[in-house]
């Protein structure tokens, strides 16, 4: 199998005010197509920083971040934007655009990727059906529950047929019953649709659903478990 994500001695230092914070201190990680990886760790361990680097939202301070064999550090602004279109990002706080309906939110990522109007409408409807929100697609985020919003966010992340999904605490902001539904959805995406998933979580239970778990402490990976 081909590694679609490969981190080699990845380091990231950023400034918190004037104090430099070593968020990542040399992470080595390989993720192959079809994998379902959970990244566990206490807060401040660098999980989200790692996820941002994998998602091409940020550039590493040192080391290499290869996505499909391409070093992210060598890409310019436009190339990074192009790369992000091939990555699906799901956030803890959903990050939907409040003035758009569920359907429009899903369509937005496709319109950014230059998809035609008719095509994206159909695709958005299909995706919302996949995540079980067909009936509520004309509602705005404020009219949807946390779980429903997260489903919209997942549908949006899938819109441009991404190489992999990145999830930052996808169940961190929803109740446990809804969370297990979301977990079920994520799992089925990986198993049935063969979507590669990398997920940051606090949730031990959710981590157990993944094929593989890595434990992070203080900016390094300390443990790797294959479930």
């Amino acid at each position: 199998m081909v590694a679609i994500v490969e981190a080699a001695n990845l380091k990231k230092t950023y400034l918190l005010g004037k104090i430099p914070v070593n968020a990542l201190r040399g992470v080595n990680l390989k993720v192959e197509s079809g994998d379902f990886l959970a990244i566990l760790g206490p807060s401040g361990s660098g999980k989200s920083t790692l996820l941002n680097l994998i998602g091409a939202l940020d550039k590493p301070t040192e080391g290499k971040m290869l996505i499909e064999g391409v070093d992210v550090s060598t890409l310019n602004d436009n190339q990074l934007a192009d790369l992000r279109r091939r990555i699906g990002f799901v956030f803890q706080f959903f990050n939907l655009i409040p003035r758009f309906t569920a359907r429009e939110n899903v369509e937005l990522s496709m319109s950014i990727a230059d998809m035609s109007r008719a095509e994206r409408r159909k695709h958005a409807d299909d995706l919302l059906e996949t995540v079980g929100l067909k009936e509520r697609m004309n509602h705005k985020p404020a009219e949807l529950s946390g779980g429903e919003q997260q489903r919209v966010a997942i549908a949006r992340a899938l819109a441009n047929n991404p190489r992999f999904l990145l999830m930052d605490e996808p169940t961190g902001n929803i109740d446990s019953k809804t969370a297990s539904e979301i977990v079920g959805l994520i799992k089925s995406l990986n198993e049935d649709k063969d979507v590669t998933i990398m997920m940051v979580t606090h949730d031990q239970r959710l981590a157990l659903q993944a094929k593989r778990t890595v434990q992070m402490v203080d900016g390094v990976i300390t443990k790797e478990i294959v479930n």
Binding site: L57, D77, R99, L108, I112, R156
Partner: protein
Amino acid sequence: MKSRDVFSYSFSAIKLRKLRAGLTTLGVVIGIAAIVALLSITQGLQDTITRQLQTGFATDTLIVSAGGGFSLGVQGEASSGFKLFVNDTQTINKIENVTMSMAIIQKVGYVQFGGKNRTVTIVGVDFAEYANIYSSTFVAESGDISLNPENNTVVVGKRVSDPWKNETLFCNVNDNVTVVWTNASARPPINVTYLGHVSAVLEEVGGFGIGPSDYAIYIPISKAESFFGTNECSMIIVKLKNDDSATIDSVSKAIKEAFSNEASVTSATAVLNILSSVFSVITLFLGGIAAISLLVAGIGIMNIMIVSLMERTREIGILKALGMKSRTVLVIFLGESAIIGLLGAVIGIGSGWVLANIVAMVFRGGGVFAGENQAATGARADGMSITPVLTPTVFLGALAFGVGVSVVFALYPAWRASKLKPVEALRYE
């Protein structure tokens, strides 16, 4: 992102904050409306005045006065004591390219009739020569202008006969009116009078010009000389063979030389040129003032875009995380202010045009009573009818200016929005 999608995204952001966008647009509307209203009124005024001067003036004439410059109908006092006399026409007539010349003596006085007074300009002219030069305006509406008038013949302007514009006449043809002039240089000042016979009422001339006026009465030059007790004239009008600028220049020069450079010579064309340059300054000045209000609107746009940038930092983070390019973020922000600018400009041009017409209407309506008052005090300005003119240049200029100012002031906020780093923007609360 396709441009249509960019546009609809910008539009959705504007729609979200209708009141805010509305008020911002209002700023542009006011600026553009002020520009359009001021410029179209100025343009209308210029057109009206130019037209009236062209009828009042004959382009193939020169006006010679005693110096101190020529100022619309008002007699300049020569500082050097140089005076122009009626018989100076003989000197001028000898100059090459001069067809003829005629002297005018004019003073401000009264006409009394039926127990009422009206202030008028009493103008002494040779009727035949005057009619020859101002053939289109020195024309009788009723009665006859005799080219060989009796000594007591009086021709009156339209507004002297019908000062209230309502057919209630002050005097009419065949009335015998008393002409009064106060000789202020006599000690003590005395009123001199004589009884004149109104032989004709002139057609309405409108506005003001150098030729016949609606507020003047005309008496034979010989009568004026004896009545005013002087043969010093106010001005001499010179008719040229043609209105070529070479002819105008050479005759002007020759006349000045003939009077040892003490007489002042004005050509109608020169006055029109001065007027048009005065108007371009006025236009520029008024346009500049109006542009300031648009500048204020522009700062309003910048302010609102910066607020919008703060509020939408997270949204921009999301867009970038979804793969939107910095350039597209820039275009979305510029698009928002361009929409506001375009909307404001279109509404502004419309309301500016309406405003200009309202002002012109008030001007016209006000002209009726203003005219009455002014006639009573002897002023010459009639209630002029101004038709505002919206030239394509002003229309397109206002449109471009409105959109341009909006976009320019949005450049900085838009640039800042486009430069936001996705990670930081997403973390922004």
